[in-house]
């Protein structure tokens, strides 16, 4: 393992949103996440797990109330002027709903060119050219340029969104549920496009999804989120073969085609994800975990390496997954 500085990293980042008087919801709770140059990191979790908020915190759209976001090792809060612009250019996001992410009153070419216009980069004709090139890279026919979002299909709109994210020639592309709103055939199309573009633009990708089949198809590594916490993080193969957290196990068992780990036995989780306004004490997962013990209701587990490169946050890891724990990793 190389110990190079991660491209983008979150260090115990906490995001709180105020709701009403002096109450707030902790959407993301002391999360650590490293995005290494060239990789595709998959972030998976149910809706309400805070995965989208992680992405928003990374690019400054959500208020970071604790912890630090770093770009190539430097605190992004210290950025200003030129440095801030470089960071904004380098990290771009593709949003979930292709339709609502495009301003209905602007043409496709206007929307795609806008990041360059905002940053005031180069002459107008050069910006127009860059935008047109991005649109052709995502495979959008030229006659779509002057159209408005409602005149495009869902797949075409998402291509336009991707083009807008690529127009600044970014190093990191954050895809927030970027195919969730599309039907299955289109999903595959867009996912293939993303993989091609990753090569072509030499991108590092943070891919956020609730869909394990999508994530496992794309990602080199996977981080699993539950109620504002990352509960497990490992290379895709490792986690799919042998998940080391009861929640990941449950997620995998719901996707028999992806997982080989628990064939046959499908683990059904009881109840819904608890409200992040009043999360359960101890391990956040204890209310739905089939293996929850008393200690799980009191002590909050930390995310620790179990095997090199494979981290899990489970108090009962040694009972539940005997033989998988390497003592030197724990130390």
């Amino acid at each position: 393992m190389t110990t190079s500085v991660p491209l983008l990293s979150l260090e115990s980042v906490t995001v709180r949103f105020p709701i009403g008087r002096r109450r707030h919801v902790t959407a993301v709770d002391t999360v650590d996440l490293n995005l290494l140059e060239g990789e595709t990191l998959g972030l998976i979790g149910e809706s309400g797990s805070g995965k989208s908020t992680v992405a928003r915190a990374a690019i400054g759209l959500a208020p970071v109330s604790g912890g630090t976001v770093r770009w190539r090792g430097d605190d992004v809060r210290s950025f200003s002027g030129q440095r801030r612009r470089e960071f904004t250019e380098a990290v771009q996001m593709v949003f979930q709903d292709p339709h609502s992410a495009l301003d209905p009153r602007r043409t496709i070419i206007q929307s795609v060119r806008e990041p360059l216009d905002v940053m005031g980069r180069g002459r107008k004709s050069a910006r127009q050219e860059t935008a047109e090139k991005a649109l052709s890279d995502v495979g959008l026919p030229r006659q779509m340029l002057g159209r408005y979002p409602h005149q495009l299909s869902g797949g075409q709109k998402q291509r336009a969104n991707i083009a807008r994210a690529l127009v600044t020639d970014p190093q990191v592309l954050i895809c927030d549920e970027s195919v969730a709103a599309l039907d299955v055939a289109l999903q595959a199309e867009i996912l293939n496009l993303l993989q091609d573009l990753k090569e072509k633009y030499e991108l590092t990708v943070l891919f956020i999804s609730h869909d394990l089949s999508v994530i496992s198809h794309l990602a080199d590594r996977i981080a699993v989120m539950y109620l504002g916490d990352i509960v497990e993080e490992a290379p895709t193969d490792a986690i799919v073969e042998r998940p080391l957290h009861p929640y990941s196990e449950a997620l995998l068992s719901a996707q028999p085609l992806v997982s080989h780990a628990s064939r046959g036995t499908r683990i059904t989780l009881e109840g819904d994800i608890p409200s992040p306004v009043s999360p359960p004490p101890g391990c956040r997962f204890n209310t739905r975990c089939p293996h929850a013990a008393d200690e799980c209701r009191e002590t909050r587990p930390a995310l620790v390496p179990v095997v090199p490169g494979h981290e899990s946050a489970c108090l009962r890891i040694e009972d539940l997954y005997p033989g998988s724990v390497r003592s030197e990793a724990l130390r």
Binding site: L61, Q92, A101, D103, P104, R105, V118, M119
Partner: protein, 284 residues
């Protein structure tokens, strides 16, 4: 089966009646526009020239609407008055929009204390009966049509502020706003003008039509009370005011300005409804 037939029966006349009102309204507004633009060409006489030998004449071919107590041709005064009334109402609405739109956008966009203060202020302005406050402002600033329309603009601006604020709050959390913020769009030039204003403007235009109606009635009211248009100038309200004094001698002369006001206000309201219907996304 019966359900279907009643449904069809119910639909057809409704459409027809609705379309009739809409086309009538377009015709009325078109006619008003022509008069506003060409009042001088259309009017057979000067609106202010007195002829004391021809006072309070009934309708005739020479004076289709008769003459008033100073022998002035009522038709000419109505045509010139149309221009004055419509321009005055437009001024009031323009003031309401120019004052109200930025404030409403600011309140909706910033939220928090700014919003709280603006909304309190709006509430308190709205706690005055609009006409009474307009009378108070005009009477204090000095009665003339410009002051009257400034006053009407002030009392109408809360409607624009409220609407703009509500619209901004509705679109503020849209993803395209967030997307624009993600690549650094911010401020008046990069966020408010390109993204916020175009997406909130349609309902405001509907409101402008409704406010035009209100401003026309306000002009007529204030001019009737002699707080607006001052003699010898003509406006719909001024003509009404003058002819009302001689109600018992020429009762028909109050008829025409009233119908002109009612028809124009009606047309603005119908067109406002129509535009709203056309803009309704559920229609598609």
């Amino acid at each position: 089966m019966s359900v279907i037939t009643t449904h069809v029966k119910a639909r057809t006349p409704r459409r027809r009646a609705g379309r009739l009102a809409v086309w009538t309204s377009y015709a009325i507004l078109g006619a008003v526009l022509v008069v506003v633009l060409f009042a001088g060409l259309l009017a057979p006489y000067s609106p202010t020239e007195q002829a004391l030998d021809r006072i309070l004449l009934p309708m005739s071919t020479a004076h289709p609407l008769g003459t008033d107590d100073l022998g002035r041709d009522v038709l000419s005064r109505m045509l010139h008055g149309t221009r004055v009334s419509v321009l005055a109402a437009s001024l009031a609405v323009a003031i309401a929009v120019v004052a109200g739109l930025p404030v409403g956008i600011l309140a909706g966009w910033r939220g928090g204390l700014v919003d709280l203060f603006v909304m309190r202020l709006v509430d308190s302005v709205m706690s005055f009966p609009a006409i009474v406050l307009a009378i108070g402002i005009t009477a204090t600033m000095g009665p003339n049509i410009t002051n009257a329309m400034i006053a009407v603009g002030i009392v109408l601006s809360p409607a624009i502020i409220r609407l703009a604020r509500a619209q901004v709050m509705a679109i503020k959390s849209e993803t395209y706003i967030e997307a624009a913020a993600s690549f650094g769009a911010a401020g008046l030039r990069r966020m408010i003008v390109p993204h916020v204003v175009p997406n909130i403007i349609q309902p405001i235009l509907v409101q402008v039509a409704v406010l035009m109606g209100f401003a026309l009635i306000a002009e007529a009211s204030l001019s009737f009370l002699q707080l607006g248009v001052q003699p010898p100038d003509a406006s719909w309200g001024a003509v009404l005011s003058r002819s009302y004094v001689f109600l018992d001698q020429a009762p028909l002369q109050i008829f025409v300005p009233g119908i002109a006001i009612a028809a124009t206000v009606f047309a603005f309201n119908i067109i406002g409804d129509e535009v709203q219907r056309l803009l309704d996304p559920k229609r598609k």
